[in-house]
Subunit: 165 residues, 3 copies
């Protein structure tokens, strides 16, 4: 009779608990966002490897070998840099979009699989773009996968919050 009523906000399905380790959707986001962060940071190291392999450096203070001049247009280095820029253009907005998508309390099955597919697609994108170039449309398909998933999440969030325009 006097027992406290179970409070809805302590429920995983309540909006107040979305960003905690008790929410499996958030945990799945944590894992795959971490994978993508590491993948992105490895692009810097891949660029560095290419710079040392082909002895291409963009700054005077980076000329670690004798008789070198700064150089900017080496195709091996620029390919990795384009892949890295493409990551920033797509993965960084995805980080925000998928994070706020969690606040709409999506189905765990749908949300987790979207996180998995999008992340694996971007790993494939890097492999076919920067590591071992492969004929199209492999790169376009990998690119489009995360793009469409981000658009889907955007549609869900925008429809849910349309009255706050």
């Amino acid at each position: 009779m006097s027992a406290p009523i179970k409070n809805a906000s302590q429920n995983v399905t309540s909006p107040g608990d979305m960003f905690t380790l008790e929410n499996p959707v958030f945990c799945c986001y944590l894992f795959w966002a971490t994978v993508l962060v590491v993948k992105m940071l490895l692009m810097s190291l891949l660029t560095a490897i290419q710079r040392f392999r082909y002895k291409i450096f963009p700054n005077e203070e980076d000329l670690f070998f004798k008789n070198l001049e700064v150089q900017f247009d080496d195709p091996h280095v620029e390919r990795v840099r384009r892949a890295h820029r493409n990551d920033m253009e797509n993965i960084l907005p995805y980080f925000i979009m998928s994070l706020i998508y969690i606040s709409t309390n999506p189905s765990a099955v749908i949300a987790c699989n979207l996180f998995r597919v999008a992340s694996v697609a971007r790993i494939i994108h890097t492999l076919v773009y920067a590591v071992y170039p492969v004929p199209q449309p492999s790169r376009i398909l990998a690119f489009a996968t995360m793009l469409l998933i981000t658009f889907y999440m955007a549609a869900i969030v925008a429809l849910r919050t349309l009255s706050f325009i």
Copy 2:
């Protein structure tokens, strides 16, 4: 007598509930952040449109037409890419800044209008930069609007958390 006391943490004004759909400021953030994510991703498609229109491709495997060579310095493509890079430089830090600004429990009227003005300003920035180039200072004003709003939010957050330096 035995009724459970209303718990402060279920209140929208409590710090614990900022990032839920019950907080109108967060909902407004969700809507406009989504708009900006979609706007940024459309820059990739706008770049692709320019690449196909002017047949300018940066990778060997992208040469979808006969007798083409890779090319990098087309002004129509580069203009869109500069606008896209400017988006990354400004909108991505704004996403984080405005998200954490919500945790300071700002006035809903101020916060929501800042989100609206900043987002519309960046849409205008894209229109006058990448879609239909317009004489200055239109682009500088659109650029400065989000910049100043982000600086304002930074000042609020930094003053509130200065003791944790």
Copy 3:
């Protein structure tokens, strides 16, 4: 007898309260993330200063002086732009990584000091790269500091959420 039981989710150590001003780790994140956002936005202004000082503009509508043509490869401007791009490559993923790292409820001493060291390292990176170029390895060390801290946070988060792969 009828007093409501203290609910675990109102505890700072509970996963539900991580992203509130009651959590000192989150407050420390707020302060230093704000510092880095401001630092990044100042790169745009530093680029603008260099553009006006050396009269190097990339768009027709930006030619504020007579007898100028668009120009892209000035070393003073490009150095600042490379530093700015390096910020985007490293600080933006760090923002997400360190934000979600907070959800694992890390030790306040460790987490706060990681935030401080990473942020100061990136300020030094900007100084030795874009403001006053200094011989290596100063820039490499400043770069590696945030990189290793981000990898450490990634390891913590990934191990904690590995079962959600």
